[in-house]
């Protein structure tokens, strides 16, 4: 296994995802296979001079620096899970490690 159980749990924490205990062995196995598979890229000689390719327009067009209305058909009170007096309501912060 190229990716350990502990690594998967650490990455899941970074990604803010709960992983159920029962799903963990399969996830470790799948991730190891995927990482082993993409690792063939490191067999290609590194060439630091290759310019990164970005599709799309060569130059980003800047918009005028002004406030434009969003034209929403309805407001956040209708699509947020909990919204009160102009604020999204969340549980208390708790312990951030």
């Amino acid at each position: 296994m190229s990716v350990s159980r502990e690594e998967v749990l650490r990455i899941a924490q970074l990604a803010e995802l709960d992983v159920e205990k029962e799903a963990l062995p399969e996830l470790v196995d799948n991730m190891s296979r995927i990482i082993d598979y993409v690792a063939q890229l490191s067999a290609v000689p590194a060439n630091g001079t290759v310019k990164v390719f970005v599709p799309g327009p060569d130059a980003i067009r800047f918009r005028a620096d002004e406030v434009t209305p969003a034209h929403l058909a309805f407001g956040p009170a209708e699509f947020a899970p909990d919204f009160k007096e102009g604020f999204f309501v969340v549980p208390k912060l708790g312990q951030f490690e």
Partner: protein, 455 residues
């Protein structure tokens, strides 16, 4: 011109495919309202176009095939959808897809798999499998899908319809739910090249709301050519490996022979970095996905699956339960390849490889080739469940399609024959923003290729 009731009836008749996520009642009600409001002068007046469920619409919910957006109604609509409506088209419901467009079989939808219209034991391909299946079943003449690594062309090939992925920047991504932002493009399905092309021409063109959309006029449709005289078609040898399914090879050989008979010059070319395309894609796409999907925090939209008291616990439990297994896997792989200690070995290396893959195409086109022709997928539609337990086998289904996304090029699939009744697709890859040439060649090939004959 078809009336709203007939449109709805045809869609409801195709219900057994599980291709449409919109409930019949909502569909009928909305179609009647849309019909009354549609502009009779529009170039697509009365044409029903189904829309993949990761493209925002005001008429229907936008769930991306995920539980984490169950019941979500977008307060705005995608530019592509707005343009369709301006042209008089009817938005004919939302189509089932792999969750957040991550998959190649439409088995990774939280709302059940889509059945292949010709063989219910098989998959329609993915991730835009619902759109492809509805067009193939004759329920709609055209549909929108989205592409990150082949999610329009691969299901188009499996279902025997036409699928076009435009050049990156040809169509606005505003309102397309982001997966891999440097790869994503909205694409179109059609019963014929013309149906797909005219929808593409309507949705293309500049959009001040998407800075990655090029400042260009909408695509102009070419006329159907008499011949392919003057066209140089390249056959990349890496796309015809010795282990290629013999039926796929026969169908391609036949299509190539027909293009030659129409006057095209055909020559072999090489895209040497092709073997690295799938691993490159499966680093870059998950990396971008892990970042894009960080927005699903169950605070601003979507349901909550909580039961815990603090904010971080709420994030983790909702995201853990709201995302399905393939999306979780890709978020984790993406987070892994971007994390300290692995970034250089995976992400940076993949970025370099992407540049080399794009350069391969430029080299081929610089040597006088106008278009490339390849199989779209190495095999016909596979059986449901066949590749579910092996993510790598599922990823290999994209081997001939991911390169066009990595290089930002236009590409399309059209039916070129069948094997044991199952459709096979041929792929044309064009030069950036030369969709018109690609569509011209497709028009010519479509007229002569025996698309429903055994290869």
């Amino acid at each position: 011109m078809s009336d709203a009731k007939a449109v709805a009836d045809r869609l409801v008749k195709a219900k057994r495919l599980n291709a449409l996520l919109t409930p019949p009642k909502d569909l009928r009600k909305s179609l009647a309202i849309q019909e009354a409001a549609a502009r009779p002068t529009g170039v697509l007046y009365g044409m029903p176009v189904a829309v993949k469920d990761n493209i925002c619409t005001l008429e229907f919910t936008t769930t991306c095939g995920s539980r984490i957006l169950e019941g979500y109604r977008s307060p705005y609509e995608a530019t592509a959808v707005a343009k369709l409506k301006t042209a008089g088209a009817l938005i004919a419901g939302k189509t089932n897809c792999d969750e957040f467009a991550m998959g190649s079989s439409t088995e990774h939808s939280a709302y059940g798999r889509v059945l292949h219209p010709l063989d219910k034991a098989r998959v329609p391909g993915g991730s835009s499998g619902g759109s492809a299946a509805l067009v193939a079943a004759g329920a709609v003449p055209a549909a929108l899908g989205s592409e990150t690594g082949g999610s329009v062309r691969q299901p188009a090939a499996f279902c025997g319809v036409v699928g076009i992925k435009p050049t990156y920047g040809r169509v606005s991504r505003y309102g397309l739910v982001a997966f891999g932002s440097s790869l994503d493009q909205i694409g179109v399905f059609g019963r014929s090249v013309h149906d797909a092309a005219r929808v593409l021409s309507v949705i293309s063109g500049r959009d001040p709301r998407d800075s990655t959309c090029e400042d260009r006029d909408p695509l102009r449709l070419p006329t159907v050519p008499e011949s392919l005289q003057g066209f140089v078609i390249g056959l990349p040898k890496e796309y015809f490996p010795p282990e290629l399914d013999p039926a796929v090879r026969r169908a391609c050989d036949r299509a190539v022979r027909l293009m030659k008979e129409l006057g095209a010059a055909v020559r072999e070319v090489s895209l040497p970095h092709t073997p690295y395309a799938v691993p490159t894609y499966y680093v870059i796409a998950p990396a971008e996905a892990s970042s894009n999907l960080a927005r699903y925090d169950c605070v601003r939209y979507g349901p909550r699956f909580d039961g815990r008291v603090d904010l971080r616990g709420l994030y983790r439990s909702t995201r853990g339960q709201g995302f399905g297994p393939e999306v979780r896997r890709r978020i984790l792989v993406g987070t892994y390849v971007l994390s300290a200690g692995y970034y250089d070995a995976y992400y940076k290396r993949a970025q370099q490889m992407r540049a080399l893959i794009a350069q391969d195409f430029r080299n081929a086109f610089d040597r006088g080739v106008d278009l490339l022709f390849t199989p779209t997928v190495p095999s016909p539609a596979f059986k449901a469940g066949e590749k579910l337990s092996d993510p790598i086998a599922m990823y290999m289904s994209d081997i001939f399609t991911v390169t066009a996304n990595l290089a930002g090029l236009p590409a399309m699939s059209l039916p070129i024959g069948r094997i044991k009744g199952l459709p096979l697709g041929g792929q044309l890859v064009g030069q950036a923003f030369l969709e018109d040439e690609m569509i011209e060649a497709a028009y010519a090939l479509e007229r002569v290729v025996p698309a429903t004959d055994e290869a």
